[in-house]
Symmetry: C2
Subunit: 412 residues, 2 copies
Amino acid sequence: MTSLTREDCAKLDAEDPLAGFRAEFALPDGVVYLDGNSLGALPKATPERVSRVVEREWGADLIASWSAAGWWDQPRTLGARIAPLVGAAPHEVVVGDSTSANLFKTLVAALRLNPDRNVVVGEAGNFPTDLYVTQGAAELMGAAERRVDPDEPALEAALASGDVAVVLLSHVDYRTGTLRDMAGLTRLAHRHGALVLWDLCHSVGALPVELGACGVDFAVGCTYKYLNAGPGAPSFTFAAERHHATARQPIAGWHGHARPFDFSGEYVPAEGASRFLSGSQSLIAAAALEASLDLWSRVDLDRLRAKSLALTDLFATLTADTGLMLMTPRAAERRGSQVSLRHPDGPAGEAIVRALAERGVIGDFRQPDVLRFGFAPLYLRHVDVYDAATALVEVVRSGGWRASRFTAPQEV
Amino acid sequence: MTSLTREDCAKLDAEDPLAGFRAEFALPDGVVYLDGNSLGALPKATPERVSRVVEREWGADLIASWSAAGWWDQPRTLGARIAPLVGAAPHEVVVGDSTSANLFKTLVAALRLNPDRNVVVGEAGNFPTDLYVTQGAAELMGAAERRVDPDEPALEAALASGDVAVVLLSHVDYRTGTLRDMAGLTRLAHRHGALVLWDLCHSVGALPVELGACGVDFAVGCTYKYLNAGPGAPSFTFAAERHHATARQPIAGWHGHARPFDFSGEYVPAEGASRFLSGSQSLIAAAALEASLDLWSRVDLDRLRAKSLALTDLFATLTADTGLMLMTPRAAERRGSQVSLRHPDGPAGEAIVRALAERGVIGDFRQPDVLRFGFAPLYLRHVDVYDAATALVEVVRSGGWRASRFTAPQEV
């Protein structure tokens, strides 16, 4: 594959069954955007949808829209539309609140479902908010926190003590792009009496997720990365049906009440995953998610996965001679939809990312030394990957990045 | 005042120093909107601001906007702009999450600040989410919940036991429109060693709020009612400076971290009210709030209050002969910006609200028997109040509402 030319890439694009989706995104000219794993691109249909909610549903119809426009049910409606993307039943997913808040709610619910155990096991290198939320929830619940490497031997050793209530794992590692064995690790945790909470932030919309088939208990995911719902878009929560009757989350707001319009003084949790809802959520933000889910409802996830693997493989292959260390596994079954490269000199790595941006190739840098490139299969072409890889090779070889040694902007 | 004519009202409008604001709102034709206490009207500047964030900051500039467009600091920037509306210092207010989530965070923080006490006192008739969140937080923290009437004698009796950690009160009662004595009740709670958390949902943007001068500990408010930031817009949290160093809220996400871009594994809470932040918030929803705060930054709150009192007084006076019972205090110092009327037959009251809506007067109905009319002084005129009151009098007298006995839509 190392001898692939730009023309070969153009041929692959011509045969790509997902190629038509690119025209549905508003991508800036002259840019190869490899940061869709941080903030997904804007679907062209989104501005009109957002305007409709702002000007018609809010401006003209005002409070009538709570029922007439389906506002009240929006967290369930959107959840049901995300469900097929994560292998869940429609009533197992609701949309609302941030990823941090939803991790908190599901962690507390899991600890309560497993009251004879008081340890939360997390990943040593997980995304900071997962670590912080776990720290906060464990402290609040009088539980202990244990951090391990997210591989089977380390996890098995941590679980062997028999006191683990819940394990929080990321499906795809945000730094390295490593894809975890959801089925195997879930089985392992269950065998040891622990519940499992999966963070899907870097997998939903990047590959098929099979929460139901894997027997997962709880999951939380992000909609502003691969799902293209806009900056800070609401998160979603999955709760397996078998936990619906008994799971109790701590933020008992009226949107999670069984009969909210009775205005009763006593909290009675709703049926289904709805009991994980709390307060009112932005309907303007929901409009952007609705628009992107219209697009996602037409995506074949197996084709998405095949293209994702082809793009990441192509990039890893074309950049193999740069001297940067590949952190992302080459084995397809262990790879998400990103390629991470390590530079032994962190600030140099950051300067390379900056120099690439000046050439129109947008990746990002993660402390202390990770160059991170995300590949969103709906709007990236093989030729984009070829051009980005060529730019990276040139920047590294020419040393042109040395002129770009200034601080990169904060990115999320 | 009972003999006031429509012409008198038109004269009052001509002299109204706030009259110019009405032209800044997109109000539907032929409607008198008296539900701005539930969902505020759309400012005309909002659609363009929202479009700018969607199409330019997100669509064109993508992740660069986290720093270039001020996205990362938006919860603090917006908080600092809300601060003058509630009598707080800029670093005492942050924006994000729902009212329910913020009540939960501040209740837990208050319980932790007062660890030798384990009772939360709330209002018996508070808005359901306040009751539910209190129930949930108390259960989680092993605290007891006590519900009382929010008057001084009842509160004093509840506080006398000496075990009350925190009192949660609503500044304006959502059903009756009664305004509470924030200074007096806060003093009373403090005298008995309790902290105070105020719910400002029905007062912020309706009257001047003086959190600092009243010595309030924590407060939570809504931006989609009188502040006009759109359906489900984010809530805000006030934490008094004296609690910044020690307050610990339970959802320890990375937006509340002191140095989030270190990506450190240990949670260190940020300075100021920022420690009450958790995860990423919708920047599209934030854009709508930003647009409405541009407008609010030009509002004289004393004039707002004077007009609010004039409008509610006018409506109460003109509808005094309907036979409906006035629930809202006539005394100005005990009245928020709404008028609530009770019908002895609940379903009849609901049908009256519906019949009014058919005549273009939008109020709302709250179970079991409350007709609720909110008066947003920025976009309501005296003639609107006159027309609405006239319509109500006609509907009640003619019995025309009997034809409207169908279920009103859900409203929030």
